[in-house]
Amino acid sequence: MRIGVFVCHCGSNIAGTVDVAELAKRALTLKDVVYSDHPMYTCSEPGQAGIQQAIKDKKLDRVVVSACSPHMHEQTFRRTVEGAGMNPYLMEMANIREHCSWIHPDMAEGTEKAWEIIKMAVAKARQLEPLYANEVSVNKDVLIIGGGVAGIQAALDLADAGLKVTIVEKETTIGGTMAKLDKTFPTIDCSACILTPRMVDCSQHENITLMTYSEVEKVSGYVGNFTVDIRRKAAMVDWNKCVGCDVCVQKCPAKAPNLFDEGLEPTKAIYIPFPQAVPKRAAIQVDYCRYFQTGKCKVCERVCPAGAIDYEQKDTSVTKEFGAIVVATGLEVFPWEEHYSEYGGGKIKDVISGLQYERMLNASGPYGGHVRRMSDGADPKTVVFIQCVGSRDESVNRPYCSSVCCMYTAKQALLTKDHCGMDTDVYVFYIDIRATGKGYEEFIKRVQTEFGVKYVRGRVSKLYEQDGKVMVRGTDTLLGEQVEIPADLVVLASGIQPADGAKQLAQTLNISYDEFGFMKEGHPKLRPVETNTAGVFLAGVCQAPKDIPATVAQASGTASKVIGLLAKDKLKTSPQIAVVNQKNCVSCWKCIEVCPFSAPEKQELRDGTYKSHVIETVCQGCGICVATCPVNTIELKGFTTDAILDQIEEVLQSQL
């Protein structure tokens, strides 16, 4: 073996406190080191050329660059040696700047430590093996899970860029939460007016395939080559025939809860969520359908002009291949009824959630936009809003801020005045106002001053019914006194949480999530739309609470990342990954158990036994499996156990 050692001066950055010339000389006494040099700036043009020259002249087969942090220049020097025909992974760096010269002002001390750092690097270099990056071809289709505004935005961006997109949406229509909203803050423009055209775009775009009423069941494969099983739920209606005429819904005799209207008023067993649904197709909720429950009825079948009803329909499953996956599963309203017994736990009719109120305000909602008391349908005179229900509340395990409630409460307060008249008393109980977006603070001010909404700082401790009113008891912490307001209607700014089933989906996709089920980004700052599983991206509230502008921005960001990824025909995967030496594998499967990416799999050998095998393209090279394998038969290339042990021994050599 022939190792070359290059001890960088880095101007005076290193040479100032480390005797680089001395180290270069001493390096020649190390086993296998046949060449050393101490360039002024190793990373500079001449410095790199010097390394390349030495590789050729001295027939070096390993190079140790003793300079700055590998985070700084590992890539640089890998390219350097590669340029001289050497495998890039045969270069090792010794960090004698950040970890030495810059923190040890004493020359003698610094030089001594640098010497040991170099020795360790040489010891590691001896263990290095040439590694070769794997290339995999890339499927250019993208799967988007969730058809809310995030999914829609990403889909359109991607489709416009020429990529084929499939949206899988679990409801019968796309649109998500935003489709339920009335107006949107801070501009008070109509939610449907801006969303529905985009929904229609989606359905008409030649590059977009909509798969509504569907769910992702199984995902296998890896970046560029995912295989996904998608289950399409049986709607009991043949969607190829259904024209969305709504006749069946009108004639259906069976009532069913209307989830789109957040349960305010019932719909029918056969339903179309809302008039602008895309696709606009009917589906039967079999649990409520008279035919399915009693075996008699079939009214819809009789009335359907298209003959689309099909009571025998079964779930179907399709398997598709994708190159990238975008998760945009959005949100769900915090189920406050289960947690806030002090607010009546859902038993007081005139206490409703913010999203229910959106439906109430909405002109296409159950009450045509008429705000009314749920108990008697009367116009409310006093409306009280309570913020932070299920947000920033440790006691219900929701310590995070839902980020949109302050704003939508202000919006709803304003709309209340608008719908019910300026003389309506509107109170908002708040803890802090978070209005950080563009024009948001101004909006709040307007609501307070222009519309006379009374903001009370404090928590509401109890809601109870008295004389047909909802008594709101709380403290005004600014005044420091108890307040009690008899309200006609109380709207809870219930917080938001990840969509139902987000955790399971994350597990299916092998991405991580926090304890609430929000999916985790690759890095909070630097990789905000990627996940740690290559090829899986995030958009919208599934990652963290955010409002529509932020959602859309993130969705477009994601789209551009996906485009960037799929612009390549081949993907290079890092070769610094785990490999199983199957000779010694005892099939204990602990590696499979612990790998965060499900990279190891059971592989059947010719003799019928099973041994572990790491799928190269899935492995991210963390090495958790390596430290877990009891027989140490998995090696992490580039960080082998032998290399680590050799470094340990090298450090302690003088100790022995």
């Binding site: 304890e515 005892v586 499967w589 158990e593 009891p630 027989v631 038969t633 032998d642």
Partner: protein, 323 residues
């Protein structure tokens, strides 16, 4: 019917009816003071099987990776309370095939520590009888005979056994033994206290002395039922060479630490390793401490619940240690 008769009858039936190809139990060794594992294939030999407080072998060892051949053989097996926990530990990880096993649980009221006995007599022990429950009658080669209380000569773990009744079995040999109230009482680690109270230097010196005697025969590892890699043990590997093949107190102790980490969360302190060590190294000292700390960290007892996973193969976001 005594437990022993139950085992014999069960084994004979299972073999006759071909429900199992082998039945693993205990039988007498070269004299009545030694019980050894028995592999019975012929129903007629079932009456060799015995059950008494000398049946210390943890038979789960024989089914871990070197299950009797052929690979689809069905095996009948006796387990005591502590043995059953090692079986559960293997089942938790899917390392043995439940469907090939027929497990006879043997409720146990304590196993005699033969080594403790040996140290009480100057002459070789040639005969041990159990005239009544709780009594041990020992006869030596020199002809000396002595009757002892079983409780006085039991294995160290038996006094505080929390699971005298097998936790996994298809059939139970006789009535259950009385169990401690596990809600009320915590595991007892008083045996460790004396060691724990020593100073660091004294501990080091003591360990050095103890581990200097290890001959690296690997008996401890090979009898350990939950060690699944015995034939590929990393302690014998040169690539990577985690532990040198040299013998010396450092290496020997490191080698035990490797074993310890590999069984952490899976070893219920069944004591098989301790009893197998020819030079009588108190290996239980490590395992008991490990289990104590694991209990302290996770409230976890290895090999108790079938649906649990060993604690080091999983994690919990809410783990409370570290800074």
């Amino acid at each position: 019917m005594s437990r022993q008769d139950h085992i014999r009858e069960f084994a004979a039936n299972a073999l006759t009816e071909k429900r199992v190809d082998y039945f693993i139990g205990w039988k007498q060794g070269y004299n009545s003071s030694e019980m050894i594992p028995a592999f019975v294939t012929d129903p007629a030999e079932a009456d060799q099987l015995v059950w008494n407080p000398l049946c210390h072998h943890n038979l789960v060892t024989f089914i871990k990776r070197n299950m009797p051949e052929p690979a689809d053989a069905k095996v009948g097996l006796c387990v005591k309370g502590c043995d059953s926990r090692t079986l559960v530990a293997l089942l938790q990880e899917g390392l043995v095939d439940k469907d090939r096993l027929y497990v006879v649980g043997v409720p146990c009221d304590g196993i005699v520590d033969r080594r403790k006995l040996e140290k009480m007599f100057s002459s070789e022990i040639t005969e041990i009888e159990f005239p009544e429950r709780g009594k041990v009658k020992v006869t030596t080669r020199a002809g000396e005979t002595k009757e002892l209380d079983q409780k006085d000569v039991e294995l160290i773990g038996c006094a505080h056994c929390r699971y005298p009744n097998p936790l996994y079995s298809d059939n139970t040999a006789g009535p259950l033994e009385k169990e401690p109230d596990r809600e009320e009482t915590k595991p007892d680690w008083s045996a460790l206290e004396q060691y724990e109270s020593l100073s660091d230097d004294v501990k080091q010196a003591l360990l050095e002395k103890i581990y200097a005697t290890c001959i690296r025969c690997f008996a401890c590892i090979h009898v350990c039922p939950v060690c699944v890699c015995w034939d590929k043990c990393v302690n014998r590997s040169r690539q990577p060479e985690l532990v040198s093949q040299k013998v010396g107190p450092k290496e020997n102790l490191l080698f035990q630490m490797v074993h310890m980490f590999h069984v952490a969360g899976r070893c219920p302190s069944c004591g098989a390793c301790d009893r197998a060590c020819p030079v009588e190294i108190p290996l239980g000292l490590l395992h008991a401490k490990m289990n104590k700390e694991i209990y302290d960290m996770f409230g976890f007892e290895p090999g108790v619940k079938l649906d649990e996973k060993p604690v080091f193969q999983v994690f919990d976001l809410k783990d409370q240690f570290g800074d």
